[in-house]
Subunit: 399 residues, 2 copies
Amino acid sequence: MPYYIGDVIKDSKNLVARTPEKFRETGVDVRLDVRAEKVDRDKQTVRLSDGTMVPYDSLVLGTGTTAFVPNAPGVGMEGVFVLKTLPDAIAIKSYLREKQCRKALIVGAGFIGLEMCEALSGLNVATEVIDLAARPATRWDPEFSKIIHEELTRHEVGFSPNTGMSSIEAGKDYRLRLNTNSGVMEADLILIAIGIRPNAKLAVDAGLRIGKSGAIQVNFSQKTPDENIYAVGDCCEVYHRVSRQWTHIPLGDVANKQGRVAGINVGGGSMIFPGVVGAQSFKVFDLGVAAAGIDESEAKESGYHPVSTIIWGDAIARSLPGEKRLGIKMVADRATGMLLGAQAVGARGAVERINTLSCALWTGMRLEEIAYLDFAYAPPFSPAWDPIHIAAQQLLKQL
Amino acid sequence: MPYYIGDVIKDSKNLVARTPEKFRETGVDVRLDVRAEKVDRDKQTVRLSDGTMVPYDSLVLGTGTTAFVPNAPGVGMEGVFVLKTLPDAIAIKSYLREKQCRKALIVGAGFIGLEMCEALSGLNVATEVIDLAARPATRWDPEFSKIIHEELTRHEVGFSPNTGMSSIEAGKDYRLRLNTNSGVMEADLILIAIGIRPNAKLAVDAGLRIGKSGAIQVNFSQKTPDENIYAVGDCCEVYHRVSRQWTHIPLGDVANKQGRVAGINVGGGSMIFPGVVGAQSFKVFDLGVAAAGIDESEAKESGYHPVSTIIWGDAIARSLPGEKRLGIKMVADRATGMLLGAQAVGARGAVERINTLSCALWTGMRLEEIAYLDFAYAPPFSPAWDPIHIAAQQLLKQL
């Protein structure tokens, strides 16, 4: 009989509660509010926090990640949050509703922090973001970070670069005070969004292999070196088709796919997970921001000889009204002309272009072909020469 | 010295007039209001309608297409239009402005006819479309034609299926009367949009080869069998990467690319045109409609063993507001699992999905891979399992 155990289900308690029949019908024993504490690989059992031992034929680890919180004074105070789980989100919403928040500080200008700028501003909470880096969204080119920064400014969200938190204490004008290397800031709510770490302890304790990324090592079948143990989702590594390395890319869509692959293999079928190209996007106010593949420094590390270009084009025909400025960056290998990475930013069409280029990255397509790809052109959807064509043609000149 | 001669430039007279300096600077002799009447391949000269003979080293034919008008009484009457050239558009706009049109009839429910529904309705002209077929947009699956038909209805545009025109005469309640096999209709404006034919006469007279599509045969370099004569754009054939046949797909973006390829080859460079996958889109009111590749019957003709499926998914995360229903059809080869064609229809995200699948079609990607492609997932832009994944997984079951 299959079991589901642990945190992830616990977080989704309401969801599970709505469909207990469905689980029972399929013969699945869902155990909530317990934690898997130890895996005994020889005996093929898992010890739960309530003391029971559960035997297994196949074990799937889906232990996810935990939001990283620095070891700084005050991080445990009321009003200081991370945003990783459904209960985190509910806690933030409850706090906002009950405490009449006027101001919020977000520590970390990654995609979670930036998405929360829009959410908090939308609730009329004055919002400011700080980051240790000189700019927001450092995965993206500085030229695109600048656009993101402008979008924050346009919506009255402050951004403090080169700023790290040292401690949190009670505030004077607002509930909380954040001490940083660039001075003191106050707010009613502080969100810490400086990254996540894989929950690999159960695997480490069981002697399974951990990759250099800190996540659990798996093969294409999502299997660990133990024949009977699989790992899926944010807790494990994933093969990057462009860098050709195993890396840690904890994203929901990837986790979904890995779960299915493991499930099919556990169930006696055969399936491999084909890997990822590192596609990612987020929305910050009116701006779509997306990327796939690798940047110049990752390309160098992998052994490629990167060249890159940024072009500014139009997402739709220039003759049509509306905001349509679209920036596309492409990185390619000088020797082969193979596309290695792409980034896009714009009020419309950015994510869609990156999805198309994800497909190109997937197959190792060269710029020469990308420059003449056949798209479903019509003026409301693109110019006759799409920004993708223009960027590829521009970059071809550097080969 | 390069020459540009003929209709296309004539249509764009205003455009050229704005940049005569630019043409002169580059040493290009632009001749307007003349027509190339005869090509003498032995003497390498072109006779113009003003009697002059122009010598050439390389000749590029870009004679385009002509809107097809049936040989029916009354098609030459005032108020009866086609829409192919810039002057056609100007004539329609002038007529609409000057004649207080209350009602328009569109003959032909292809993409030009359907785009004009939106344009005319937007000017408060009551609009009705007729077509010989039982449904609009026959390139698309009947299930999608139904959605298009519903979109017309929702915007009070009538559609008369199985209806062909026989003649036009003066009207009683409106300026014009259209006689059809299903009765008499009246309107102030009639637009005939039942397709186009390649302008291949110059090539035919010169003894160049014409394909079974009626368009001029070229090779990958856009060259005709005559070493010194090229053809580009709507007048010539194009290689379809999926059907692996030379066909006629007269679209602006394809023409642009072919022009560049021929230009580079004429100029002493070397470049091939890699072909198309038949990507196409149009917008009708709030609906995006797109397709790429081939359908079941084209697949059979080409020798494939097609299977197909239609799924209805969400263009963005279900939790977000707004119209997001998206239909995707996929056609694949049963033997190899290779994607052969895709169609999409929806208020958002349809064209973008087809562009991504165009890239997949370009490289001959199989469903197995498409079902697990890595996209830049975020809820404002797609569900974690994109409709593309769902359609591919659905169709995989039929292999």
